[in-house]
């Protein structure tokens, strides 16, 4: 008998209600499965939520909102696009999207990594946070829509702009509005008026470059790009100018 840990457990998700699908995932993993393949996924929410083992979940189709919400350890690979709230408050693990992601990717994330090959929607990385060794990372291959890094409190966002045409600016306006922690590395042009007023712009330090190289190398390996080609681009660092931007908001 083949050990369940070595087998790829395949689940055809067509027509399965999200609660039943997530229950099957939990049961399968409790039985010891380490690799699970979900096919015909069409909008089921919360896939991977409450999973806290380093299992591999491959998704074929379009997973629903809040993919990997509160997830603690698994690696999710999406062969398709992710919807809104991908990686909501995730604690540990990886989400790799071979396509684009919707709004609020990585919202309130407190650990783990999210790699999106193409673009992301509004409010990517909103209120991401970090504590000691827990530092969430989002790497976006394309561009982002408005409010990237809104109220960002920690972690790292890397915006690579690989699909921008020569001379084209990043889409996102109001970048880092309310930002008070963490860092955003941007490759490609982002006009000054696109930045929130809490955001400062700087060159990358050696430490920044080391972190950037680590994450970009992983991104390039995942999606089959040459890391050096990406790293040769022109990067700048966006950082919060104050740790308490609204400290005086309610003080007379």
């Amino acid at each position: 008998m083949t050990n369940i840990r070595e087998k790829i457990i395949k689940i055809d998700a067509a027509g399965i209600y999200y609660r039943d699908l997530n229950a099957r995932l939990r049961d399968t993993i409790a039985d010891g499965a380490a690799k699970i393949e979900l096919t015909n996924v069409h909008g089921q929410r919360y896939i991977g939520t409450d999973l806290n083992k380093p299992v591999l979940v491959e998704i074929f189709g379009t997973p629903g909102n809040d993919l990997g919400a509160f997830m603690n350890g698994p690696r999710i690979i999406v062969h398709g696009n992710a919807q809104d709230g991908c990686g909501n408050t995730m604690n540990e693990g990886e989400i790799i999207v071979h396509g684009r992601a919707g709004d609020t990717v990585g919202l309130s994330a407190r650990g783990g990594k999210i790699f999106v090959r193409d673009n992301v929607g509004y409010r990517g990385g909103i209120h991401m946070k970090e504590y000691k060794s827990k530092k969430p990372v989002i790497v976006i291959g394309g561009t982002a829509q408005d409010f990237l890094g809104e109220y960002m409190a920690g972690g790292t966002i890397i915006l690579l702009g690989m699909n921008l045409k020569e001379g084209q600016d990043h889409l996102s306006k109001y970048v880092g509005t309310g930002m008070h922690g963490g860092v955003i590395y941007v490759r490609g042009n982002i006009p000054a008026y696109h930045l929130g007023k809490e955001v400062g712009v700087a060159k990358l330090s050696e430490k920044d470059n080391a972190a950037l190289k680590e994450h970009v190398t992983e991104f390039a390996r995942l999606f089959g790009y040459n890391a050096d080609d990406i790293l040769n681009g022109n990067f700048k660092k966006l950082y919060p100018r104050w740790l308490r931007p609204y400290g005086r908001l309610y003080a007379y």
Partner: protein
């Protein structure tokens, strides 16, 4: 400590995840298709609604009466039907009338009587009043009469079907799988501030304009008071109603091009206007000054439709989601991409528009002329 395991859900998957769902599908070549796919797509977003409202707008479904105004009425009592039918016979020439065919189902409770009337306005109309104006005025008259009759659809060669239930239940009730149309929009409702009743379900409409909406129009009061000055009476007790009247006023009465009308509803921010070339600045300032009272404030994603066009639009900072899918002549708009891919897995493109930027689907010119005589009139007006 209190033991909460009995009342807590172990997996925390009991969160109420409601938000309205919107969907639209259009064949820009004018080819008509059955509603089955659209019903399947909106049903895939079942959990966004809570069963307190579902509805559809359907374009091109009455080729046997393409030039008659198709008035669809809800009657909450049979007495109101008698009174309103007398009114209709008096004010219109009624070419055909029938009860809208329905299928009795277990889940649809206390439905109103729903009838449709294919009518022409009188030959001689008061000066400065078009046939459309005449119809709008009569719709307002019926809807404010207080006799429990409501006109919820009044355009040519189109219809709204809606009620209290999940959208797939409403579709089953009204037998929508039997209709063929080139443009369908759909809505699953999660009522936030107002009551759930049959008239309060989406789409909202006037003439052939329809709107399905996810969000909240916090400028409703201002918008409503402005529209009242032009004879529009809000009677459906729901914010979305103002959008239908606003597009009718802007595009039919004031003849604004669609591209300008959407800048009224989702006007660019002042700092954006300041960065525009001078000519565009002047235009945008004029729009904001003239139509400030029709600016839609608050979060929204809408699908607006009328004969020949489908428009997707979100508020300027996109507080509600909208995904666009294209496959050949087919254009899809949806709250969620998965609903589109369920019925069209191999899309040419899928993307999300920037807040305030409209996505416009138009019938191709060759299909436009043959599909509707009404459109020809509109073009020559």
């Amino acid at each position: 400590m209190k033991n909460l395991t009995r009342i807590n859900n172990t997996y925390n998957d009991d969160k109420v995840i409601d938000a309205c769902s919107i969907f639209g599908a259009m064949d820009r070549s004018g080819r008509r298709f059955s509603g089955e796919g659209v019903i399947k797509a909106i049903a895939n977003m079942h959990d966004r609604g809570n069963g307190l409202g579902g509805g559809f707008a359907v374009y091109g479904l009455y080729p046997e009466h393409p030039d008659k105004y198709a008035l669809h009425l809800m009657y909450l009592s049979s007495q109101s039907k008698l009174e309103t039918e007398e009114f209709l016979r008096d004010r219109f020439s009624v070419a055909w009338q029938e009860e809208v065919p329905v299928r009795q189902t277990a889940v649809i409770k206390n439905p109103p009587l729903v009838w449709r009337y294919f009518v022409d306005p009188p030959q001689s109309l008061p000066e400065n009043q078009s046939a459309d104006d005449y119809v709008v005025a009569r719709v307002m008259e019926i809807n404010t009469s207080g006799n429990d009759s409501f006109v919820f659809s009044s355009g040519k060669n189109m219809a709204v079907f809606k009620g209290v239930g999940y959208p797939e239940e409403i579709a089953e009730y009204f037998k929508l799988e039997q209709y063929q149309a080139y443009l369908w929009t759909a809505h699953g409702r999660f009522p936030t501030n107002t009551v759930a009743w049959w008239g309060g379900a989406h789409p909202f409409s006037i003439l052939d304009w329809t709107v399905v909406h996810n969000g909240e129009i916090s400028s409703y009061g201002i918008n409503r008071r402005y529209l009242e000055q032009f004879g529009y009476q809000c009677t459906m007790q729901t914010d979305t109603e103002v959008i239908a009247y606003a597009v009718d006023l802007l595009m039919r009465k004031h003849n604004l091009p669609l591209e300008i009308a959407v800048k009224v509803l989702a006007a660019p921010f002042w700092d954006e206007i300041e960065r525009m070339p001078e000519e565009e600045q002047n235009l945008m300032r004029a729009i904001r000054q003239t139509y400030g009272s029709l600016l839609l404030n608050g979060p929204f994603a809408v699908v607006i439709a009328h004969n020949g066009e489908m428009i997707g639009l979100t508020d300027r900072i996109r507080l509600r989601p909208l995904t666009v899918g294209e496959k050949g002549d087919m254009l899809y708009l949806s709250s969620e991409e998965s609903a589109i891919r369920l019925i069209s897995p191999e899309l040419d493109t899928a993307w999300s528009p920037m807040g305030g930027e409209p996505v416009i689907g138009r019938l191709k010119p060759e299909s436009r002329l043959q599909s509707s005589k009404g459109k020809k009139e509109a073009l020559s007006r």
